[in-house]
């Protein structure tokens, strides 16, 4: 029992954190945040110098690529965060259950003796 509430509980928390880390990696959340405004797939006009018109064209071309990139990345980040949020909720339920499980036998027996059951009708 001492293991259940010490190393066992810590192990569960570690497992939950590890799964969160894997999800964060799977959806590249950290990478996407750090490159949120980078041009998407480096799609933008090439070259350097030239006339002012060329310069402006390249600037807007790159800007457009950055905007598209940030939109696509934001969607992915949001999707990843939703999944991670669900994971946190699920993990918390597991942790709370972990705390209760050792008492489940006694609780079950007491409720059985009391004879309470949910009524469906």
């Amino acid at each position: 029992m001492s293991w259940w509430y010490s190393n066992g509980l810590l192990g569960r928390i570690r497992m939950m954190m590890s799964r969160l880390r894997s999800s964060s990696d799977f959806f590249s959340v950290g990478l996407l945040l750090s490159t949120l405004f980078s041009p998407f797939k480096q799609i933008s006009a090439e070259g350097s110098g030239g006339s002012l018109a060329d310069y402006i064209r390249r600037f807007f071309d790159k800007l457009l690529s950055r905007i598209i990139g940030s939109i696509v990345r934001s969607f992915m980040i949001v999707f990843g965060l939703i999944v991670m949020f669900l994971q946190i909720i699920f993990g918390t339920i597991i942790l709370v259950s972990w705390l209760i499980i050792p008492f489940l036998l006694i609780i079950g027996i007491i409720v059985a003796i009391i004879g309470w059951v949910p009524r469906w009708t």
Binding site: G8, L31, I101, P102, L105, I109, V111, A112, V117
Partner: protein
Amino acid sequence: MDLTVKYNSARSEKARISVLLSKNWLFVLSISVVVLLVVGFNLIVLEMAIGWALIGLASVPAMIVEWYNGELCHLPISKKNKSIDNILSAEVLGHLPHNPTPKELATIVSQLNGGFFFAVRFGIGLVFLQELASNNSTDMPAVWSEAIRLQSLTNSKNISAVILVVALVNCNPTSQNLISHLQLDLEDLINGIKWFNHLSSLIEEYQKPKLTGGLARDWSFGWTPMLNHFGKNVSQQVNSVSLLNLPAHDQAIERIIGIFSKNGRQNAVLVGPSGVGKTRIVQSFAAKLVNGSSDVPHNLKYRQVFILDAGSLIATAPEKGGLERLIPQILNEAYRAKNIIICLDNAHLFFEEGIGSVDISNIILPVLESGGLRMILAVDEQRYLQICARKPEIANALNQIVVAPASRDETIAIMQDRLVEVECQNSVVYMYQALVEAYRLGDRYIFDLAMPGKALKLMESAAHYGDNGLITAKSVQQTIEKTLDIKVSVATDEDDRKKLLNMEDLIHKRMINQSRAVSVVSNALRRARAGVRSQNRPIGTFLFLGPTGVGKTELAKSLAEVYFGGENKIVRLDMNEYASSQDVARLLADGADNANSLTARVMKQPFCVVLLDEIEKAHPNVLSTLLQLLDEGILRDIKNREVSFRDAIIITTSNAGADTIREYIDRGYDIEQFEDQFVDGLISSNQFRPEFLNRFDEIVMFRPLKKDELIQVVDLMIADVNKTMSLQKISINVSWDAKKYLVEAGYDPRLGARPMRRMVQRAVENTVARQMLSGTVVPGSIIEITLEQVQQMVSSKTDADQIVKNS
């Protein structure tokens, strides 16, 4: 530390429970959780309160399963570390009885993973351990303290079954003798512990979740359609195939990371001989970059390595100028993608014009100098020197990383890593002795590669020579023996042993007398096949001295036929063709230019008799060149490649001083009486230099044959004729007086047995030919050749003299 196992300690109890909870029990417990939960919920749905009790009851097996997975199956060592049971692995501790004896411990560890490992990999199984372990429990403290020593020596996290196997072996006073039967020593067993620990850590590493950057890893980097077409994405390959860490390459990888993570020339050239592992370094480097858990600098993380395929590039743009357009496009694409590291494997293909290669140094040089695109080049030492000599500006632009051949320990460690793949692909298991043998024989017989390539090549080839899927040292020996047609193993086969023990008799079937020469050569072979000769010299080196026609060359031929498997196993050089100093080059010529050079022929056929006839006629420079061959069994060819003569017998013959030998024999001396004096005479007359003569294992003098010995020679020649005629079912019988006449007519003390061949041809073969053509002989008949017939064929002394003269 207390060396008594506390049977009732908490850790011991837990270990026993973990042993009790076998996989079957855990399965039953898991099923019971599910069944209790399902039944419980159903009962509640049916408004029966007993369902709550069943759900509560399900928590008990559920907790046991969780406890097992969370603690019991990886029972950590106790931090107190005060008694031996605190640092024993759970699987061992859980099986230990009260007050165990070494024999009981041997039985226990033999049935655990570590015990199986030593049984399969080293041949140290249950029977072996039980034989050397005592039945006295008072011997246990010695075993425990040896185990503690080994744990500390190998940095093991606990005392596991592998450590206890080695501790049990070490505690036996005769252990060294016992394991030497398995071709092992104590150091090998310690390597075994390290190997097992390494495999365990690999499995643990494999089971950990991998961070790869995820779905959107490459969204900030450009597309690379051309690179995908003309290159090989190493990073993708190492993603799909788990690449193992090779400790020997860590240093080179660290240097590449160091170069790429700082400002400056963003390139590295890996320089080392073929087989040293340059491509593997690039693969390991690529694997490290895409591993999210690795400690590479941020600016290198998730960068991808592409190896450019020279063949594909040349095939696409064969015309002049085509590549000059294509390569910049590819490099530009890599530059714009911002996450590409280009690798030019066999980089010389991009710096020289030739078949399958093209010189694009004018395109690559600016890229190397600007440092805008990271590049790795891999090239062997010789080619790198050539590139440097031709284009020094390229050498100046490159950061050189020398990749040295791996040491023995590193090579064996690399082989152990590679085994995981090789064993899986070929469904075989390698013993440790096989790896050691692969290193030894690879080092000796494979010349085109460096370590660890040599050993790996041999190890992988041995997969096809296993005995029921088990690759032993013998399997590796067989691989070399069958691929190179040589004998490297100690003679254990009954036929082989008989042949070796009766070598003299077998040679004498075609050699008359010269017993001493036959004996020294036979002894050399016996030493070689019994494994007692020096491995760093030829099997034997002999100088045969004596007049012509006494059997010097014949002995070499006999040896080739009897032991080496045929007269074609003789590499014969007439040294009178090497009489000028320029002939040294011809002797050592590259096989591609001159297939008949000594080095080329021995490279193709290392297990042979090398016969250097009339050595006294060779130029002194040629003799000097041969000194290293005689001393170390090594010659370097014109391209500086090492050619091994260590599986050959070197026989040199000389007629030098033949008249002196004859003179001494005629005066009634035995050879032994004037041998030393004679050799001194050869030195003082400047026919041979003392350092040359000293290199030989034996200098053997052949004495002229007497007339009665020549009759035996005639017998051998007639036996040869009979062998030829046996195809037509005809045999020949020559009368005694006819043979004697042949000897009398053909005898010349200066020429020995040489004229006898012509004499027999003239007198016997011609007679038989005539009789056969006249139709007087039918299959199954015996042709009797009489003195008269012989006299008729060799009608006069003048005839005989003419034959002798022509000889």
